[in-house]
């Protein structure tokens, strides 16, 4: 387990050095996306109005407050990623996204895209929205505002993390590994519990 401190945009090289179990913090730009954002972008063919090249994207539907023409974060948390699995390979391949941040992970096709194009999945501590919100310095832009709270958000973050590398560019998938190990231990656990 290694600790990394990165700055956005991430280079392919930086991302490829990461291995599952490593801990990452970073400074810079973070894009917020959710189900609707990606339906609009991918299924309905709307080109993002800003480049996502080298950037991290987080699965969120933030609570924001509009003060004048500025947005202030009230509560920004992270949602379960699996619902958005089918969009992830495209984000990586077509738009050059280097990290997807969420909870509970993505499936095989995303893992393959990560290996091929150089991207990682970073697991955040779910439910820790108070801390996450504090790490957001500014809401720099809200694109596709009509989709709010599932628009495309550009945040500036400081010391964002800790994030655990849960899917890397070497084909490793921490959630799969942990589950497989649990299943392996199961006969022993059943025996001890006296249920077999």
């Amino acid at each position: 387990m290694a600790n990394y401190f990165l700055k956005t945009p991430f280079s392919e090289e930086e991302v490829r050095q990461l291995k599952v179990g490593d801990i990452v913090h970073f400074d810079g730009t973070l894009f917020g996306i959710r189900d609707l954002t990606q339906i609009y972008m991918v299924d309905q063919n709307h080109e993002p109005p800003v480049s996502l090249e080298g950037m991290p994207c987080i699965h969120t539907s933030p609570s924001l407050k509009k003060v004048g023409d500025r947005w202030e974060p009230i509560c920004v948390g992270t949602t379960t990623s699996v619902r958005m699995d089918r969009y992830s390979p495209l984000l990586i391949e077509k738009y050059g996204v280097r990290a997807i941040i969420g909870k509970a992970g993505l499936y095989e096709d995303s893992l393959k895209a990560m290996e091929k194009f150089g991207a990682v999945y970073l697991a955040i501590v779910g439910g820790a929205a108070a801390l996450e919100t504090r790490q957001i310095e500014e809401v720099e832009a809200v694109y596709w505002e009509h989709l709010h709270p599932e628009a495309l958000y550009q945040f500036r973050v400081k010391d964002f993390g800790p994030l655990t590398v849960a899917m890397d560019t070497h084909g490793n998938h921490l959630y799969f590994d942990v589950k497989a190990r649990a299943k392996q231990r199961l006969p022993e656990i059943y025996k001890k519990l006296g249920v077999v």
Partner: protein, 293 residues
């Protein structure tokens, strides 16, 4: 009818929702701190540290612990020593939940099941969820408020086994459900288990089980022993905090039980996330309110 002012119940209903979302109960904090101490894997330890830090940040800034403000559940115990107007209590608590949502303000999650329209009130048809119970030799109204987020609620499961399957089938079911849930319910939380009753009662028992303070054992020693056995079994899976691997996968297993039919053998699991949020209040006939967890 007495001249009790029920706006107090409304205010309490509102306060309870906000308190539950911002102030994690001391027993849950202790359990997380203990988990941090005990955890041997460095990655998992870092996660526990972050959870504890998050609770502190929420304290300091009086902000939400988690963004999912959930669906409101009010578990109400009505003391028989005072002439409480139950219908009024229900209406006022509902209004309290609406006011919490609008006045705090936070994102409401209640949605019409068909149109999926969100009224941004946290309530709606048959919401909040209410449990009413009655207590002798008490004059107060005891209200326990539990906000239930979707990540953990989505992992709920119920099954009707047959008596021949015995208690072992129920234990195995609990363990298998936790493994299947993996990272989704933001482990390590409270695993609430219902055993016995009917299909509806067993599900309700599992929900009551998650609302118990962490580690408070079932008074029946046989059931308490089963709670410990299941905790050990679940922690032996190594699923760990956030499903990323570690020694601690659950803070506690709580089991609630009921008599069942001679030919029934039901079990239900309800998972509560690591921020096992709840808040309690006792409202007295003289208009005083005592807040707790």
């Amino acid at each position: 009818m007495s001249d009790f002012d029920y706006t107090l119940v409304e205010e309490t209903g509102k306060q309870l929702y906000v308190r539950a979302l911002c102030d994690l109960p001391p027993d849950v904090r202790r359990a997380l701190a203990h988990a941090y101490e005990k955890e041997s894997q460095p990655g998992a330890k870092e996660i526990f540290k972050t959870m504890l830090k998050n609770v502190d940040v929420a304290d300091g800034k009086k902000t939400l612990i988690c963004q999912d403000t959930g669906l409101p559940i009010y578990m109400v115990k009505i003391g028989s020593g005072f002439n409480w107007d139950g219908a009024e209590v229900k209406e006022r608590l509902t209004e309290g939940a609406v006011r919490a949502t609008r006045e705090y303000p936070f994102r409401g999650s209640s949605t019409h099941f068909l149109t999926r329209v969100n009224p941004q009130t946290s309530v709606g048809e048959r919401l909040p969820v209410f449990y009413f119970d009655f207590v002798k030799d008490a004059d107060c109204l005891e209200i326990l408020m539990v906000p239930k987020g979707s990540g953990s609620e989505n992992m709920s499961k119920m099954k009707m086994f047959i008596p021949a399957d015995g208690i072992n089938a129920l234990k195995k079911f609990v363990l298998d459900t936790v493994i299947e849930s993996g990272a989704n319910p933001c482990p390590p939380g409270i695993i609430g288990v219902g055993m016995g009753g009917t299909s509806d009662l067993v599900t309700r028992l599992a929900k009551e089980a998650i609302a118990r303070p962490v580690g408070q054992r079932n008074p029946d020693p046989d059931v308490a022993e089963m709670e410990i056995e299941l905790e050990d079994a679940i922690n032996a899976t190594g699923i760990g905090p956030m499903g990323l691997g570690g020694d601690i996968t659950t803070l506690a297993v709580h089991i609630e039980t009921a008599h069942t039919h001679i030919t029934l053998n039901p079990v239900a699991v309800n998972t509560q996330c690591w921020p096992a949020r709840r808040a309690r209040a006792k409202v007295y006939p003289d208009g005083s309110v005592e807040y707790g967890y």
